[in-house]
Symmetry: C2
């Protein structure tokens, strides 16, 4: 177990006013320091692991003045979150109280924890592997149940287990190859190359699946930006309301989320659609040049998906067609998927909708935002486009982290090289070098192989207190 | 012990994202419900009081799907915050996780706690008296160390103890009077009236002290609004900066505090001065009518104290004098204390400052915002005006709650009536009625005497989860 020398503390609960706040202290001095500041029914140093005691936190440098009534919970090493001794102090949830307790801890020689430092210690002490540690941050930030569930799967080691299995298989083979090299003069074959080549083929296909799952995984984790574009009377607002009424946005009651544009959030089948409202496209004589189009295009640029709403009860003028086509072209350029939404099918009265432009070359759905007809199909189409036609299958492993995806891509490349060497009957040295590279890349995911830079990069994006 | 029938739960930590959030469950079913949802190393129903256990919260209606990895801490009745069985669940601090756990609790028949309901139950179960319960909310909202300390004193029972002593003294005498009434035919005197009259005199003086302490107590608890008024070049901004540099405002890093005007906060000797910035007074020909003055007056109306900054290096024109006098008159009308700040004493060059108006009828200090000279005296004067010349004395009891002040006023009035009856040798019945009224009023403070209305009024101002 790697021991950190110093003892750290931080407020572990969200910042603000509430019933209680929790201050977490971790490190070899956690019990001794907390003991000096705690005046309770029991001494902290005498408390068994996983027990709680009521008492006062006092300021030893200020006449033992009471700072607050608290409950202290002790977790003794190694049975704690970090693997170190931990004391968690539940105090009254005011900023002043919480800070004054933190201050006496700092005066007692405890250091303020860096972002993610508790979880980093948990990793260094072998309580979590690296992909599990990363899942902790994802769980906290999850906005849909699906995102939460895949983070929890990752925390529970679903990805790690699979990576470890693949890695062990490669490692066994690689060890045999290297053993052969040690006995090179005797020219014996310990590693069955054909057998491994077969297995490696399966592993490569699996790595490819995992790599591809990231396209969907990142959508489930981070959500997807959708811009709604359409002429003012095409039914944009009504559609938005219809969608919102059925799917209460779960992010709306989180205070303090600032947005640079007005967004509505919509959870469809576990995917968070963040819908960016546009001002509505207006016809002008020179549409491409107009400011309105420029603004909408700016919003389209930030989006992954665009709903292009058309009033299906009216025929398109030549101008309309030119105008819409120019926007579709722009979307194409920007690599934004358009979904054409033909609205007002309730009032078409059997009229024939004519479009001679590019509109119907794109995927489309016919709906009535007013009656709700077709809205289910629209939602299915949105999910379909967001997940590239491969929505999440219950029980499957999703890669949601670009760091993991990149490592998988490198592992696959190296394994392909190794396989080519094996098939070309190259020397064991060549095979071994590429297999080692694959092992290293896979090891980065779970943190078997890591660098201080990788760790700092990962944990600096955590919040303080985690 | 009064038992509440239902079991309640709420998020006890501040709302937002953080390392951990705590969900508190209290009531007779707390252990049973938590036991069904917790899949850990130990069963919750088997856990001893004040012990913690690691495990999963599962959704029993959804295939026992894991919602989060948590630590559950059990507090068994009567040794808990509410006096009831309590389970506290520390989960990952994301909104979605926290809410999904709350939801399975609600599905299991637990009710969402009302604001302050945990503390209300603590009161009903005799774990806290009413003034102590009120102190809990004050501790959370404390903005200065002094406010925090007086709330903590109140939580520790400093006020309650004194009220109880006074109450017991009156109660003993009142009981004797009432006993005499029972034996009225025998005409014996059990209650020594002279002796009690002496003691009651002391008690009345003490009640008066406590009532008066509210003038200061409310200032320490809630802070004081200060408006700075002065002509644009009088040195207002420089003074504000000088004050702020020395006294880091402790409230500035609390997110989400919205303000209807721009305020700076300043902690001087434990008092929170909330300084409202005015745009600066500008000279006009008809100052009383001008919009600038109107706006400043609106801000003065909201203030307790006004700093009127004058450039001491310049002489006042007749217009200036009329202008300043009109504002001083207005402050007088609005019952706002003005403090005249004569600034720029570093560049007066021995000139004689002449003011023929009302300026120097008010308390004043001479300072240099630039060199800092006199700023200490200014701060002392601000504290002096805020506390009506009676700043907090270490160890004294402060009444900080208007409910307590009002009850003390009623207790004092009734006791005065009783004392008058005693001195006028009125019948014991008269004395008894007024003593009972005094007892009831005092009892309201600690909650010995209370009504559902009083309780609802108090606890509805708490946050949910406390």
């Amino acid at each position: 177990m790697i021991r950190q020398e110093d003892t750290i503390a931080a407020i572990a609960t969200p910042i603000g006013e509430g019933g209680i706040s929790v201050i977490r202290i971790s490190g070899s001095n956690a019990l001794a320091v907390a003991d000096r500041l705690f005046d309770g029914k029991r001494r902290i140093r005498d408390m068994a692991s996983h027990t709680a005691s009521f008492g006062n936190i006092i300021d030893p440098h200020n006449n033992r003045r009471v700072l607050d009534e608290v409950v202290a919970v002790v977790f003794r090493s190694p049975n704690s979150y970090t693997g170190e001794d931990i004391v968690e102090i539940s105090c009254h949830g005011g900023m002043l109280v919480t800070k004054s307790i933190l201050n006496v801890l700092f005066e007692a020689g405890v250091r303020h924890a860096n972002p993610g430092e508790f979880t980093k210690r948990a990793f260094l002490n072998g309580r979590l592997d690296l992909s599990q540690a990363e899942a902790v941050a994802d769980i906290i930030q999850a906005r849909t149940e699906r995102a939460h569930r895949s983070s929890l799967d990752q925390l529970k080691g679903k990805l790690s287990t699979e990576i470890d299995e693949i890695r062990n298989d490669i490692l066994n083979f690689c060890s045999l190859i290297e053993l052969e090299l040690d006995f090179a003069e005797e020219d014996i074959e310990l590693a069955n190359r054909d057998d491994f080549a077969n297995r490696a083929g399966r592993v490569l296909r699996r790595l490819q699946e995992l790599i591809e799952s990231f396209n969907v995984g990142k959508v489930y984790r981070d959500g997807i930006k959708v811009v709604i574009a359409g002429k003012p009377n095409a039914g944009k607002s009504l559609l938005l309301n219809t969608l919102l009424q059925e799917n209460r946005a779960i992010v709306t009651d989180i205070p303090g989320t600032t947005r640079d544009t007005i967004e509505e959030s919509l959870n469809i089948d576990g995917i968070l659609f963040r819908i960016i409202d546009t001002a509505g496209l207006r016809e002008t004589n020179d549409p491409v040049e107009s400011e309105g189009v420029q603004r909408t295009l700016q919003q389209i640029e930030r989006a992954d998906l665009a709903l292009m709403i058309i009033d299906y009860s009216l025929n398109m003028s030549d101008e309309d067609i030119r105008y819409i086509d120019s926007i579709l072209d722009k979307m194409n350029e920007l690599d934004v998927d358009p979904l054409v939404v033909l609205n007002k099918i309730d009032i078409t009265d059997g009229k024939q909708f004519v479009d001679t432009g590019k509109l119907l070359h794109y995927p489309f759905v016919k709906i009535s935002a007013k009656t709700g007809e077709g809205v289910d199909v629209l939602k299915k189409q949105m999910v379909n486009l967001a997940t590239h036609g491969k929505p999440y299958q219950e029980g499957s492993v999703l890669v949601t982290n670009s760091r993991h995806r990149d490592a998988l891509v490198r592992a696959k490349q190296s394994l392909e090289l190794a396989l080519a060497s094996i098939k070309g009957e190259a020397s064991g040295e060549f095979v071994s070098v590429d297999l080692r590279a694959a092992l290293d890349a896979l090891g980065e995911i779970t943190g078997v192989v890591t660098t201080e830079d990788i760790l700092n990069n990962i944990f600096s994006s955590f919040c303080i207190g985690k």
